[in-house]
């Protein structure tokens, strides 16, 4: 075991015979996250060389704040993807939770902490409905959550009359929930760390892998795959809603249109680039986290260079394709290592 551990920490160690490329390849094969980490560092170096403002304090802060929603949503999606399901509506939950919170605060005159809880309960209910319809009614989650996407999009606009609203005024809670410059980043890091721990070290995590890897076999072994799937649907929705609340306090505005298709598709891309299998059974939150950072750095770096959003999309598309081809190739290399 100690041998595999060291191999994980220092990719390619102990293979002096091979050249640098060979060693790198071995490293990439051993640790899925290593490849995406290499890409991340490479991108950072490139953008810093192209524009020295990239690693300035100001830009790092803006990167850190901009990445928060993507990192958190990609992490939640990661667990759901691993257990073999998907949530296309999580971007709309991202917009929905702050709206419900706002209405509970302004129209129902609840105190803010209670209003926040009501907002989170609303997105938990969304996750529950997604999960129950998918698991018990047998509708593919792609369709369930596509329907939920439009339902919430309509609700978000209807509930607000289509206009952005201003968040409740500053107090300690709003500071902690996003107004303080680093609060969102701290939340994101804590969430990634906790979720990775849950995934790698708890029964819930193990059963999440098992459910996605072999649903029938898991059921035969007595794993309650319905509970695992519905739980991860709820988790994904609540995380999306929670980071939506954080984001709304950061920009002091509640935007009914914040949940467009862009955000959820980017987060799925982040998880997939980070090594999560769309068919379930494989992936890590750490990988999804790195994948989200890569996407955010790409956009930020291109913006600094004055490259348009159109070009960004072209490059993003190519990046996803390359990442996927690499994943298949790496999986084949791993397969070749057997027997």
């Amino acid at each position: 075991m100690s041998e595999t551990t060291t191999a994980r920490e220092t990719p390619g160690a102990g293979t002096q015979e091979r050249g640098l490329v060979g060693r790198l390849l071995v490293g990439l094969v051993r640790v899925r996250e290593a490849s995406i980490f290499v890409v991340l560092v490479g991108l950072a170096l490139y953008f810093q060389a192209a524009n020295s403002a990239f690693l300035s304090e100001q830009n790092i802060l803006s990167l850190a704040r901009f990445a928060v929603p993507y990192v958190v949503i990609a992490s939640g999606l990661c667990l759901l993807l691993i257990c073999g399901e998907i949530d296309l509506s999580v971007g709309q939950s991202f917009a929905f939770a702050p709206i419900v919170m706002y209405l509970a605060y302004e129209k129902l005159f609840l105190v803010l902490p209670l209003a926040v809880i009501v907002g989170l309960l609303a997105v938990a209910l969304v996750g529950l409905v997604n999960g129950v319809v998918t698991v018990y009614l047998g509708v593919s989650s792609l369709i369930t959550t596509l329907g939920m996407f439009f339902l919430l999009a309509g609700l978000n606009v209807t509930l607000t009359g289509g206009f952005p609203a201003t968040t409740p005024e500053t107090n300690l809670l709003t500071q902690a929930l996003g107004e303080y410059a680093w609060s969102g980043t701290i939340w994101a890091i804590v969430i990634v760390a906790v979720l990775q721990l849950v995934l790698a070290r708890t029964r819930w995590g193990l059963h999440t892998y098992a459910t996605g890897g072999n649903p029938l076999g898991s059921r035969e072994a007595g794993v309650s795959i319905a509970r695992i799937k519905i739980g991860n649907f709820i988790l994904c929705g609540v995380l999306g809603g929670f980071v939506g609340i954080i984001e709304s306090f950061r920009i002091s505005s509640i935007d009914p249109l914040a949940g467009g298709p862009d955000i959820v598709l980017l987060c799925i891309a982040a998880a997939v680039i980070g090594g999560t299998a769309l068919l379930g059974g494989v992936g890590t939150v750490t990988g999804a986290f790195l994948g989200a950072l890569v996407l955010v750095i790409l956009r930020n770096g291109f913006t600094l260079q004055g490259i348009s959003a159109y070009t960004y999309n072209i490059i993003l598309g190519v990046a996803i394709l390359i990442a996927m081809i690499l994943n298949v190739y790496v999986a084949r290399l791993r397969g070749a290592g057997r027997e």
């Binding site: 595999t4 070290r201 035969e220």
Partner: protein
Amino acid sequence: MENGNTNGSEFLRVEGVVKNFGAVSVLKGVDMHVKRGEVLGLIGDNGAGKSTLLKTITGFHRPDGGRILVDGQEVNLRSVSQARALGIETVYQDLALVNELSVFHNMFLNSEMTVGPFLNNRKMKEHTQRYLEDMGVNIPSIDTEVARLSGGQRQAIAVARAVYSDAKMLLLDEPLAAMGAKEGALILDLIQRLKDERGIPMILIVHNYAQVFDVCDRVNLLRNGRIEYDRPVAETSVEELTELVVSEYRKARAGGSGE
């Protein structure tokens, strides 16, 4: 085997069990019993309902009629976990192993050892290592993903897992399917040892009748939703069993050749 209530007394009794899937009636009143220390071979044509019968005994399916008695007590199994609590363990045809997980995580799937909220990986590894050695199962490393193992190794792990948690009875669905001669011998050997050393009663679904004679004490034929033939292995032969199954086929062909 020391105390009087072991070998020879009845462990499992199935009475008039019925199972329908929609309009299709698969089990139409199955009567069956297994004694302690006895290995029962269950044969029957494809689609006869052998796997359905096994999954009904193991709590995966709920019967639509009849009763199941364990140790003389009627039980109402609602889940696989309930059957496991009674000591009835199953090795399914698909083995119920998760390819993406390591050997030791598969060994403890759904009965993981924990420290507080966390998995106790070290303890699970120790137990797996020791246990597989005891059972004479050879695996290159218990850290490897199950996907990397051969069919025989996977089957051995599935059997070891089923027996591990103090199994009082073992149900095996085609344990020798899709296996080479050498690997098949390994599994037969494992089954034989479980029978000799632990006296665990078993039901084995088998297709190759020669193998029935290697390890089974008694053989049951499931046909038309019922057990139509029940005989000790000593009183029958491969030829007779083959003839039993084939004659039905000939009859069906003769009756249906009206075109």
